[in-house]
Symmetry: C2
Subunit: 168 residues, 2 copies
């Protein structure tokens, strides 16, 4: 059995065949309920389902969200509370750095809407790090520390010519 | 124009209509080329395209990866280098905490394969934080600090009954 072959830790064994069907990104925040509201207001996210902790005590101020699944266009992502039912922080998140990219036909309007909902604009719409030098990118930081880039990959040159930089 | 309505920062304005077509997660790492190799070996990711910095100097040891787009099952994500062409770290990533979830029919084999490729197993396959108490979850930490959870949402009860916990 392939699984047992690698339990002894010998690196020369052949990796077993594994099928990965999909990957989902989970954002882990101190107040998931607030974050869900923000992503709805800022990006128009739609909540598909929410799983709360079944043992959450009634006297606690809000439900513990195991995961809320949000749909944004053709994509989905998860938002979760970062504390245990006891109030202790969970120690199950990674230390890696990320950014999140949103594809939208109107970068300027998307930045403006996000800022209206409580995000902080991080500079003008510009080309820059991580992107094709000719591809305009807008970026905001949300109240939970995540950085979101807005881009229009389909009509990037047209967008660059027609939209003046905004400084909301 | 909706965009201009919010440039004055008055919070009472109505948010403009904005269409978000998709969201992509970008993992920002010190050595993106190594990370791409790891995700191919550990999860069977397929590289769809790679964008490198056009001005990368020839004497530098490896290309600066603006973004490599990896496909995992029905999903895609991005991997990028975290340094500028000059070698300075980029300051464009968020401070939020994340985890990444992989759907697979065989959690045990998926964990074993990832460990063989260089990930570190974080305990046995178990139910736990973020998940339905009846849903088995395996988890590994990759060499770049990201935490990956493996789960089988479709046949979760069958998986729990047929798979013994492994401790690779």
């Amino acid at each position: 059995m392939a699984q047992q072959d690698v339990q002894n830790g010998e690196g020369e064994k052949v990796a077993p065949a594994v099928e990965i069907k999909a990957v989902l990104t989970q954002l882990v925040v101190p107040k998931a309920d607030d974050a869900v509201k923000f992503y709805k207001a800022a990006f128009g996210a739609v909540e598909l389902e929410r799983s709360t902790h079944p043992k959450r005590k009634a006297e606690q101020e809000r439900p513990f969200i195991l995961s809320a699944q949000l749909k944004l266009g053709s994509s989905t992502f998860l938002v979760s509370d970062n504390t245990e039912d006891s109030g202790e922080p969970v120690n199950v998140v990674g230390s890696g750095a990320i950014a999140l990219w949103l594809e939208t036909p109107d970068i300027g309007a998307a930045v403006a809407k996000a800022v209206l909902a409580g995000a902080v604009s991080e500079g003008e719409i510009t080309t820059g790090v991580f992107s094709d030098p000719e591809q305009p990118v807008g970026k905001v930081r949300d109240p939970f520390g995540f950085l979101w880039f807005f881009t229009s990959p389909v009509a990037k040159k047209a967008a660059a010519e027609s939209e003046a930089p905004i400084t909301v």
